[in-house]
C-alpha cells in the first residue's frame, strides 16, 4: 500500500509537537502556487482543500494555511487526523465504515476502507454518470479528494529527512552527523551508491545476512530511494516552482522539476528555501520559518495580487455586505412600521456601507482575476446583488420611505446567500472556460445583461410591495409607486435588450451565427418580450394598472427561469453554466412567487368587489 510505504519512510521525522501556533503563517499564506489554472496564494489552495475535505472554512482558532502546512510538512500526523467529512449513511455502509459522532474520518481510515473496496469503486466508476446514485457520486468524490490529499502530503517527500543514514554516506555527502539527509541530497551520490550496491551484490548476491552493517545500510537506502521514487515521481499537484525554461509559463511541483529535468539555478535556490522551510516546520524553528516563508513569498508573479487575495479571504467583504444588507432590510422594515426617521437613516447607512463593501469586493475580485466581474453563475449572482443594492439606494434617495431599503436589502441579501450554492467546487475565484475568457464581451454583454436582471428584480420586488399595499390602499395612493415600477422596467428593458443584442454579436464571432434558439438566448429574449409586452400594453392602455403590476411581479419568475432555470435543461451551447444544484431552490422560489401573486391578486379583486358591493 502506497501510503504505508511513505509512512515507513517518514515516520521517524514526524513533527515533535502538536502546537504550531508560534509559527507565523503571514508570509507562508502568500507563497504563490499554480493551482487549477491560476497562480494563487498558498492560503487560497489551503482554504479550497480544507473546505472540500471538511466542509468548513477553517479550523477553530487556526487558519487553513496552518492546517495545510501540517499536511505538507508533517504528513504522518495529518494522515491520522480526522478531517474528512462523510455525512452520507449510504457511503458509510458502502465502505463498511463505523458511524462516528462527528461524521469525520482520517485519511488513514478512509484509505484502508477504500483499498478494501477497490472492486466496488471500479464498478461505481464504470457506471454511466446518469446511472450513478448520490452515494456513488459521493464515494467517487471522496476517492478523488483523497488522491489529491495524498499528493499534497507527499509533495515534499523528496525534501523530507530520511532515517538511519550510514555515517559513510554522510561523509560522502559532506554533512554533519546530526544534519538531515533527504532523498534529494542522496540523488547527488546516487551513481556512487548504485555502483557500491552493484559490487555488494556481485560479491554476496542476495544473501543479506552476510552483508555488513554498512552494506545493509546501502541496500536499505537504495531500496528506500526506489520506493519513494516509484510512489511519488508522478506527484505534480503542488506547483510552486516556476519553470525557467518552459515558455508557456508552466510551473512545476518539486518532483516534476526532477522528473522533467527542468532544474536551473533559480529552481535550485527555491528547492533550498523549501528544504529549509520543511526543516523549520519539523524543528519548530520560528525564526527560520519566518525567513524562509518570506523568501518564498517574494518570488515573482503579481505579489500585490497575492496579498490582495489573502486579504480578500481574511476580510470576507461579501460576508460583511450580506450582514449589512440583512440589517438594512430589518431596520427599514422597523422604520416603516414605527415611522422612525432615525432608524430609517440607520437602515440607509447599513445599505450604503454594505454596497461599499460589495463594490470593494467586486473591484478586488476583478483585480485578482484580471477580468470583468461576471463570468460564472456565482459571479452573476453577486453582481446582480450589487446592482440591486445600487438601485435600492437610488430609489430611496428619491423617495425616503424605506421601500427601497427593504426590497433591495432583501434581494441583495437573498442573492448573496444563494450565490454560495453556485460557488464552483469551493473556489469562487476560478478560471473561466476558454469560450468565456473574452474580456471585452464579459465587460459589455454580460455586464449589460446582468444589470438588466438586477433592474428587473428590483422592478419585480417593487411590484410585490404594490400588490401588498393594494390590498388595503386605493390605486390613487399608489400611483407614484406604479410610476417607479414603470421607470425601473424601462431601465431593465434597455439593459436586457442591449445585452441580448451584444450577446448575438459575440455568438456570431464565437460560433459563427447571431442567433441559434439556444435555451439561454431564448431566456434572454423572453425577458425582453415580457417587458416590451407589459410596457406597450401599459402605454397603449390595453393592460390595466393592476394587470401591469401583476405582470411585473411575475417578472421575477421569468428572470430566474431565464437566468438559472435554463442551466438545468442541460442542453445548448451555454454549457458552461449547467448545474443541478439549484433545481429545488428554483422550484420553491417559482412556486412561492406564483402563490404570492395569485393570492394577493385574488385578495385585491375580492376586496374591490366587496367595496363596490358596499
Amino acid at each position: 500500500m502506497k501510503w504505508l510505504a511513505i509512512l515507513l519512510l517518514l515516520i521517524p521525522f514526524s513533527s515533535v509537537a502538536d502546537n504550531h501556533t508560534e509559527l507565523d503563517y503571514k508570509d507562508f499564506m502568500r507563497i504563490p502556487v499554480l493551482h487549477e489554472g491560476r497562480i494563487k496564494p498558498m492560503d487560497s489552495v489551503a482554504r479550497i482543500m480544507f473546505k472540500r475535505i471538511s466542509g468548513h472554512d477553517a479550523l477553530p482558532g487556526n487558519s487553513a494555511s496552518a492546517w495545510f502546512a501540517g499536511v505538507l510538512f508533517d504528513p504522518v500526523r495529518a494522515g491520522a487526523q480526522k478531517w474528512f467529512l462523510v455525512h452520507s449513511p449510504d457511503v458509510l455502509h458502502m465502505l463498511s465504515l463505523p458511524e462516528s459522532a462527528e461524521g469525520t474520518y482520517s485519511y488513514e481510515e478512509l484509505e484502508g476502507a477504500l483499498a478494501s473496496h477497490t472492486p466496488l469503486l471500479k464498478l461505481v466508476a464504470a457506471k454511466d454518470k446518469k446511472d450513478q446514485t448520490a452515494a456513488d457520486q459521493e464515494v467517487l468524490r471522496l476517492f478523488f479528494l483523497m488522491n489529491n490529499f495524498a499528493e499534497f502530503m507527499e509533495s515534499f517527500s523528496l525534501l523530507m529527512p530520511l532515517a538511519d543514514i550510514d555515517p559513510q554516506v554522510r561523509e560522502k555527502l559532506g554533512v554533519k552527523d546530526n544534519a538531515d539527509v533527504t532523498y534529494f541530497d542522496l540523488l547527488k551520490i546516487r551513481q556512487t551508491l548504485r555502483e557500491e550496491l552493484k559490487n555488494i551484490v556481485v560479491r554476496k548476491q542476495d544473501h543479506i545476512d552476510k552483508y555488513s552493517a554498512h552494506e545493509q545500510s546501502i541496500a536499505s537506502l537504495m531500496y528506500r530511494m526506489d520506493l519513494l521514487e516509484a510512489a511519488d515521481k508522478e506527484n505534480a499537484l503542488l506547483r510552486v516552482i516556476p519553470s525557467s525554461w518552459d515558455e508557456s509559463g508552466q510551473w512545476f511541483s518539486p518532483w516534476s522539476v526532477i522528473e522533467k529535468g527542468d532544474g536551473s539555478p533559480a529552481s535550485a535556490a527555491l528547492f533550498q528555501h523549501w528544504h529549509l522551510l520543511a526543516q523549520a516546520y519539523l524543528h519548530k524553528d520560528a525564526a527560520l520559518w519566518k525567513a524562509e516563508s518570506e523568501a518564498l513569498s517574494a518570488t515573482p508573479a503579481r505579489t500585490w495580487a497575492l496579498k490582495l487575495e489573502v486579504l480578500y479571504h481574511r476580510l470576507n467583504p461579501l460576508g460583511i455586505s450580506l450582514a449589512l444588507y440583512i440589517l438594512a432590510s430589518v431596520l427599514g422594515f422597523v422604520a416603516t412600521i414605527r415611522r422612525a426617521p432615525a432608524i430609517l437613516t440607520a437602515s440607509y447607512g447599513a445599505l450604503l456601507t454594505g454596497a461599499g463593501f460589495h463594490a470593494a469586493a467586486l473591484c478586488a475580485r476583478m483585480a485578482i482575476l484580471m477580468r470583468p466581474p461576471v463570468g460564472t453563475l456565482y459571479e452573476s449572482m453577486i453582481f446582480v446583488s450589487f446592482i440591486a443594492s445600487a438601485f435600492g439606494l437610488w430609489l430611496e434617495q428619491n423617495k425616503k420611505n424605506g421601500e427601497g431599503l427593504i426590497i433591495t436589502g432583501l434581494i441583495a441579501s437573498l442573492l448573496l446567500a444563494c450565490a454560495s450554492v453556485f460557488a464552483a467546487d469551493e473556489d469562487t475565484l476560478g478560471v473561466l472556460v476558454a469560450v468565456l475568457n473574452t474580456r471585452f464581451w464579459l465587460a459589455t454583454h454580460v455586464v449589460c445583461i446582468t444589470t438588466g436582471y438586477g433592474a428587473s428584480l428590483v422592478a419585480a420586488m417593487l411590484a410585490h410591495i404594490y400588490l401588498i399595499k393594494r390590498t388595503w390602499q386605493p390605486a390613487s395612493m399608489l400611483a407614484l409607486l406604479e410610476q417607479r415600477i414603470y421607470r425601473v422596467a424601462i431601465v431593465a428593458l434597455f439593459f436586457t435588450t442591449v445585452g441580448t443584442m451584444l450577446g448575438g454579436i459575440w455568438a456570431d464571432q464565437s460560433w459563427g451565427r447571431f442567433w441559434g434558439w439556444d435555451p439561454k438566448e431564448n431566456g434572454a429574449l423572453l425577458i425582453v418580450l415580457w417587458l416590451i409586452w407589459l410596457l406597450h400594453g401599459r402605454v397603449g392602455g390595453q393592460i390595466s394598472v393592476l394587470g401591469f403590476v401583476i405582470g411585473m411581479a411575475s417578472l421575477s419568475i421569468v428572470v430566474m427561469l431565464a437566468w438559472v432555470g435554463v442551466n438545468l435543461l442541460s442542453v445548448g451551447l451555454h454549457s458552461y453554466g449547467f448545474t443541478s444544484v439549484a433545481a429545488n431552490g428554483l422550484l420553491i422560489f417559482c412556486t412561492t412567487e406564483a402563490v404570492f401573486i395569485v393570492v394577493t391578486s385574488i385578495a385585491i379583486y375580492t376586496l374591490r368587489k366587496i367595496k363596490h358591493a358596499a
Binding site: L34, I39, G174, L187, K188, I189, Q191, T192, E195, P242, S243, S244, W245, D246, E247, S248, G249, W251, V257, I258, K260, G261, D262, G263, S264, P265, A266, S267, A268, F271, P300, A301, R302, A305, Y348, L352, A355, G356, H358, A359, L362, C363, M366, A367, M370, R371, P372, P373, F386, A390, L393, W394, Q397, R439, F440, A443, V447
Partner: protein, 172 residues
C-alpha cells in the same frame, strides 16, 4: 452627497470592469536569467570563471564517463564544437575521478581537443547538482553571449540536427 457616493460605487465597479478589457493577461512566462559567474577546475587542475570567457555564447554540457547516452552523444558534440568555433563548449564532467574524465575525452576527441572545447571536473557535483540542478546526465544548457540562460536540453542532444544548429547560429 449620498447620490454621489452611490454613483461612486457603481462607477468604481464599472470602470474597473472596463479597465480590465485593456489589461494584458497576467504573464507567468520565463524571465531571462543570467547564469551565475561560476568557477570550475579544469582537467589540468587550473581554475577558471565563466566571466573569463568573455562575450561568447557558451554550451554548458553536463556528462559523466559512466553514462551510456553521454558516451553516445559525445563524438557529435565534438564535431559541433569544431563547426562552431565562436561558441565555447564547456563540458562539465560528473566523474568523481578527473583522470577518468580526461581519458574519456581523449578517447573520443583524438589527441587534440578543439580550442573552444573546455573540460571542467565537477567531482563534488557542486556545479551540476547544487548550482544548475542537473540530476540526470547528459544535460545541456545554452548561454548567449551575455551569458543569459536561453535553453535547456534534458537528455541527449541531436547535435547534427537542424533545430540545435539553428539555435547555435542564433546564439552567435
Amino acid at each position: 452627497m449620498r447620490r454621489n457616493v452611490i454613483l461612486l460605487f457603481v462607477a468604481a465597479v464599472l470602470l474597473t470592469s472596463f479597465w480590465m478589457v485593456f489589461q494584458e493577461t497576467p504573464q507567468t512566462t520565463v524571465q531571462m536569467q543570467e547564469a551565475p559567474d561560476f568557477s570550475w577546475q579544469g582537467a589540468d587542475a587550473s581554475h577558471h570563471r565563466l566571466s573569463e570567457l568573455g562575450a561568447k555564447p557558451v554550451v554548458l554540457h553536463f556528462w559523466a564517463s559512466w553514462c551510456a547516452p553521454c558516451r553516445e552523444e559525445f563524438p557529435a558534440l565534438i564535431v559541433a564544437a569544431r563547426r562552431n568555433k565562436n561558441i565555447i563548449f564547456l563540458t562539465v564532467s560528473g566523474d568523481e575521478d578527473g583522470a577518468r574524465a580526461e581519458a574519456f575525452i581523449h578517447q573520443y576527441a583524438g589527441q587534440e581537443l578543439p580550442d573552444n572545447l573546455l573540460v571542467a571536473v565537477d567531482s563534488t557535483h557542486a556545479l551540476a547538482f547544487d548550482m544548475f540542478q542537473t540530476v540526470q546526465y547528459p544535460e545541456t544548457i545554452l548561454l548567449d553571449s551575455a551569458h543569459h540562460l536561453r535553453r535547456k536540453f534534458p537528455g541527449p542532444v541531436d547535435w547534427k540536427g537542424k533545430d540545435v544548429q539553428d539555435y547555435l547560429n542564433q546564439l552567435r
